[in-house]
Structures are given as C-alpha cells and as structure tokens.
Point group: C2
Chain length 435, copies 2
C-alpha cells in the first residue's frame, strides 16, 4: 500500500472513532520526547490512537528548553507583559463558527494553551475553503468541528476540546447551544464566547444566549469583498448588545452575513481572515489575562491599512427586553460598587444617549476635540456629538440581510451608508427583523 493511502486510511480510522472516542483525553498519547510529564507514557490499544503529536504536560514551565512548548509564552511574565500566564489553563472559551476566522482563532488559543475550547459549526470542509488558513485538502468532507478537533488535539493535547456539530440558529440548536455553555449552577461555564460566524441569525442567537447568561462575548466579521473586517466586544448591560445598534462594518464592504446567499460566492483572503483572527484573539488574551487595553471595537480596512476604534454604549431603547434588564442591573451595580473593569475601559462613561446620538457611539482617540460624552457627567443630559459625527471615518452601518434583500441592490440604493437614510429608518428595519 502506498504511503499516501496508508496516511489516508489512518486518518479515516481516526475519524471513524467518532466524537466519543476522540475526546481530548483519549487522544493524548506520547510520541515525541516532551517536557517531563508524568502522563507521558503511551497506553496500548486502538482506543488510545492519536496523530503523532506530543504528550500532555502537567504544569506549564518557564524553563528555556527546545522541547518546552510553553517557554515563549511563560516568558511574557519575565518580560512584564502578563502577571500570571498560567491562568490561561483555567479559561474556557467557546468559538461559534469554525471557518476562516474561527479556525485560526481556535488554533491561536490552542497554541497559547487555553484550558478548554468549545467549537460550534454545522458545516463541512470543502476544497473551496482552502484559500484560507487552517484546514487541509485531505479534510474535505469532514465536519469542520471534527477536522478542527483532529488538528488542534494533535497540536496541543493539553487543551480540552469539545466539538458540537449543529446549527445554533435553529430552535433545537439554540437550546442545545445554551445548554452546552451553561454550567450545573445555571450560570455560564465559559469565560468568553467568540462569534466567528458568517450570518446575521447566528449573531442574533449568540447575542440572545449571552444576554440570558450575562456572558461577555466578542463579535467578528469580514466583508464580502475580503478587504475589511472588524471585532467588537459585547458586555451585557455595559456595552451595546448586537440588537442595540445596526451592525457596524468597516468602509465600503458589506458584512459577510450575505455570504450564504445561493449562487453568490463572496471573496475571501487568508490575510484578512488571519488579521481578524489575530485582532480577536489578541483582544481575548488581553481580556482573559488582564493585560493591556481591551479594545471595544477595532476595524480593519486592508486597502489603506486603516484601523478605526470606537466605543458603543448600550441603547436605552433597545428592542431586546433582556438587554434592557441587563442595562438596569449594570446601572445598579455601578451605583453600588462603582464602575468595574476600569483597567480595560479607562474612559468610563455610561450616561444615556442624547437624541442627536441615538446609537451612543463614541469615537476613540479624539481626546483633543472632546469626543462624545467625554468628561461629561453621567446622566440623561450628557452632551453627545450628532449621529453623523459619531461614526469614525470609514465606519458605516450595515443592514442585516436575513430577509434575503439583495445586498448589491441595497448598496445601489444607498441603504448601506447612512446618507439618505436616517438612523430611525435603520432602527425600524432592525426592529422588523427582530420580531
């Protein structure tokens, strides 16, 4: 039998073990000399089969040795960047959507040694995905979650990986999603949820689940023309939720939520996808390990290498009653305890919005000009910039296309930009979609 066929057969066999046998635990056998781990001895038998990776490592070491996969990460402590890097092993992150952004995000967290990963996707790997990082041609036909798990467990057997192959936007899928991210105490068992999906419905589902659990999540998106993208942090009650404002995208691109329309093939690039994954996981590491500044919204426009940032405050007239409830809870909390997480949001200002700045968006980095709400007393009368000025250069509203509106047509009619369209119109359309 040719080597080619032998490798394929072996991969087939591994794959056919199925989700149960392929848990992170059973796959972790030793093959390469690894940094002194007590669990390095491989067990015999088919059930212990694994790709040729490395053995599990009990405790992260800062020792500078060629065979220590954590030396360069633990060095972050010595360099004064992170106080306690090993805390990453206690973190559980859910990634919804294991495509061009989600798969690379999962690999980055895996290589960083995150404690556990929950992966959600209902799609299969295709050769048409090969223009982005991560998946390999021989994984075509596998589910994205199982293919990802196969690769990730091999890269770092210390990470506990749970793969869920279903659509979180169906009624049943949503219930299952909420169930799998909820712990026995009824609270979220995740430290962070990352949205790496390509459609509006899935983002709304994640938003709803996270509002229910009071769970912080980060949204990401890449434009259909492949040359812009963004990430956004959503903290229930504290920042805008996904329903508070119309989705914001960078520059001329419309968001990838239109990607799945039949017969339409959106463009994509491994560069843009990799950049957005990098932005997302860098922000996640800063959030999880408490270093640097967590950026509330970061855009990326590839054609000009332009990276706009801003803050988006919650909308006190949000259509989602759960968001309204979380906002009230957060206001109460701030009254009692003062603003929390001051280190990642240095400019704490949650004053309700002025009628001229309906979405309460605050452009960052405009200190000299006195950005919206900056330095103003928190309260209903806090001054704010007009809506037109509130969006930073290169950022525009994007309409959800859940109702199969043709994006090109919308753009032709000027709907994608805010020109010729009031924010009230956008709000009405958003409300109609939310029903």
């Amino acid at each position: 039998m040719a080597v080619n066929q032998r490798v394929q057969a072996a991969i087939q066999e591994l794959h056919s073990d199925g989700p149960a046998a392929a848990s992170a635990g059973s796959l972790a056998t030793a093959s390469t000399a690894a940094a002194g781990s007590p669990s390095a001895a491989p067990s015999a038998g088919e059930a212990q089969s694994a790709p040729a990776g490395r053995a599990k490592i009990e405790k992260m070491s800062a020792e500078v040795k060629d065979d220590n996969p954590y030396s360069r990460l633990m060095a972050l402590q010595r360099m004064g960047i992170v106080k306690d890097y090993e805390k990453i092993r206690e973190k559980r992150v859910a990634i919804v959507g294991v495509g061009g952004v989600g798969s690379v995000a999962a690999e980055m967290l895996t290589r960083c040694g995150v404690g556990s990963l929950l992966l959600y996707d209902y799609d299969k790997v295709e050769l048409a995905n090969m223009n982005r990082l991560f998946f390999r041609p021989e994984q075509s036909g596998m589910t994205k979650t199982e293919a990802a798990k196969q690769t990730l467990v091999n890269i770092n057997p210390d990470v506990d990986i749970e793969a869920f192959h279903f659509n979180i936007s169906t009624l049943k899928g949503f219930d299952e999603f909420v169930k799998t991210i909820t712990g026995p105490d009824g609270a979220s068992r995740c430290d962070l949820i990352l949205s790496c999906v390509d459609n509006y419905e899935a983002r709304m589902s994640i938003n709803q689940a996270c509002l229910e659990l009071g769970q912080t999540w980060m949204e990401s998106g890449v434009s259909e023309d492949a040359v812009s993208g963004h990430i956004q942090v959503v903290r229930p009650g504290k920042t805008a939720c996904f329903e508070c404002v119309p989705p914001l995208v960078v520059a001329s691109g419309i968001d990838e939520k239109t990607l799945k329309r039949e017969g339409v093939c959106a463009a994509s690039l491994p560069t843009t996808m990799g950049m957005v994954a990098g932005m997302l996981i860098q922000n996640s590491l800063k959030y999880l390990l408490r270093f640097g500044t967590v950026t509330p919204y970061l855009g990326y426009s590839a054609l000009k290498d332009f990276f706009p940032t801003m803050q988006i405050h919650p909308n006190p007239q949000c259509n989602n009653p759960l968001c309204m409830q979380r906002q009230a809870e957060y206001r109460r909390k701030v009254e009692l305890e003062g603003p929390s997480d001051a280190e990642d949001e240095p400019e704490e200002d949650s004053g309700p919005l002025h009628e001229d700045n309906e979405w309460n968006i605050e452009v960052e980095g405009d200190d000299e000009e006195g950005a919206a709400g900056e330095g103003a007393a928190a309260g209903p009368a806090a001054p704010a910039a007009p809506a037109a000025a509130a969006l930073p250069e290169g950022i525009e509203y994007s309409l959800p296309t859940a109702e199969k509106v043709d994006a090109a047509k919308l753009e032709a009619e000027g709907v994608v930009t805010t020109e010729g369209e009031t924010v009230d119109d956008l709000a009405a359309q958003l409300a109609a979609l939310s029903q």
Copy 2:
C-alpha cells in the same frame, strides 16, 4: 499496528524520501476529488507517494463550486478589488526566515496560489516553536524549510516550492542566496523578497543582496516582548535601505534581533506573529497584484491596538555605496520618466533631507498639520519637521545588537529611546556596526 504508529510510520517514510523526491512535482498526486484537472490521475509507485492532498489545477477558475479552491480568490475580480487575480501564478516570492512570521506568510501565499516560493532557513523545528502557528509537534527535528515544504505542497500542489537550508549571513551562504535569487540574465528572478528573520545580520544580508539586484523587498519584525511588530517596504534607491536609518521599532519593545542571545528566551505570541504575517502578505498582495495602497511602513502595538504608518526616504549620506548608486539611478529615472508606481505612493516626494530631519522620515496621516515635506517642492531646501517630531507616536529607534550588547542594559541606560541620545550618536553607532 495501532493507527497512531501507522500514521507516524507513514510520515516518517514521507520524510525520509528527502528533498529530491519531495519536489512539488512528484508530490502532486490526486486523492480528493478536485476541480477537473488533467493531471488528476494518481500514478502508481512509492516515488509518487504524497500526503493526502488534492491534484494540481491547470488553470484558475472562478466557477462557484465546493471543490474549487480558487473560487473565493477569483471572486476578488468580480467584486472589483483585483483586476487580474490569475497574475499571481506568474509571481515568484522569496521568504527568508521560516519562523513565526515567515511560515505563516508562506502559508498565506501558498493558499493564495502564488506561482513559486523560495524558502530560506537554517533552523530546525522544535517543540518550543509550537506557541506559534504553522508547524506541528510531529515535525520536531525536521529542518524548518523541509517541514514547511511538506505542509505547503500538500495544501497547494500548484505552487512550486524550493527549500534552501542554509544561513544567508555566512560568506558562503550569502553567495548562495544571491545565486538562487538571480536569473540566467543576471537580474533578480523574484518579484518580491520578504525578510522574516530574527536577527540584524540576516537583515543586512538581504539589504545588500537586494541593493545589488535592485530588488524590492519587505522587512518584518516582532518585538522581544511579543506585543509589537512592524513591516517596512524597501525599494532600492527610492526608499530608505536598511542601512539608511537606524532600525525603527514600535513602542517599548526592542526588536527580535536580540532573540538569539544565549540563555535568553524571548516571548512570542501566535496572535502578534499572525498579525505581522497578515500585514506583510496583505501588503505583498497589494504590491504584486496592484490594488489598494502599498503601505511603506506599518507598525502594530498590541497593548493598545495602535497601528502607526510613515514613509522613510533614502539617506543621501547612506554608508552603503550601492545604496548611493541606486539613489542616483532612481533620481535619474524620475528626471527622465517622472515618478513611477504613483498608485501605491500617492505622495511622491523624494527631496533630499534637511539637517533637522536627518533620517527624512515622514509621518503619514497628518495632513492638517502639514507633514514633513508635504506639498513642498522637491529639492535640497525642502522644509522638513525636526527629527524629534518626524517619528510618529509610538515609534522609536532600535539599536542593532550584533555586537552582543545586552538589550536590557541598553534599555536601562535609555539607549533604546531617542531621549538623551541624538540621532548623530545613533548614526555613529550604526556606522561602526556596518564596517
């Protein structure tokens, strides 16, 4: 035999085939149903053994099919981003350094379907590299170039990959490097050279080779503390060469050129490395396929998500005589033909520098304040901002540490920042190193 062992044996066997058998041509056998290629039929025999990838594809197709790996790239044409995407198949790119940045850069170009790649590295894969993307634990011990080639040929057999395992900074290695990037006509056979190395000597070698051949290259770097990085375009005669100005790095980090000092383990993150690779290859795609704006210098500071840009003009007192010659040639060319490549450098201004702005650095995006040289007539008396103002926020000079100066000590003495150190001092130190 357990599956684990079988996979290992198969990989071993593949690896032991060696560089000769593992050429892009012989590895391209079919296993997955691929988009109608005439070469899809696998040949029998061990010599044709390959990882289970896909067959070669004769011509890029824009057809929207699940098994077309180029559909999402060719869509860039339909979206109006790139005029002729297929031109990428005519491009040859050399990547020097296949580490945290170079390996990801190579994978991005491979997935984009670049014509051919030359990979240079003298290092081996270690488990200590596993905190960055690309390499897998089972590749430990392989040379980085062969491991990279193994992975890349499997991902995209259409890319012609040449792997060179030697140090370009030795006398013999430098000659070999120049020889392998030179065509039969004595000119460069590359369209672009990417520096993804971690030391000063290798950057100086690339600079020298590219000055000799008049070859455009892009420099990249990641700081030792893992939280900042940069890319820079070097066009012989037109922009500063690597010897024209002291190396510039972003924010507080010192460049990774100190990484190789014995006993010192620099920190690194897959996020930062991935971001810099994304910035580098996005800029490369814009340069190779002529779309968007090629960014002359782009920095990245992860802690605050800050991305400074600038232009660096050549130094008319550069220590490198070849650079002086290329500058003279470029001036002559501009006199005869006018400035070329106007589309990627909208603000053409190559006026020699003023004594107050010795390095002739131009901060970008400061239109309102009248950036250095902007709108001024090209000529010896072109006004320029003082040196202190010429560096954008967060950018600082970094001293090469080729002479084994301890970086921490330098930093403690304030040498890394420009405070308490004049540019003349830096120039003198640089000159001393260049001898």
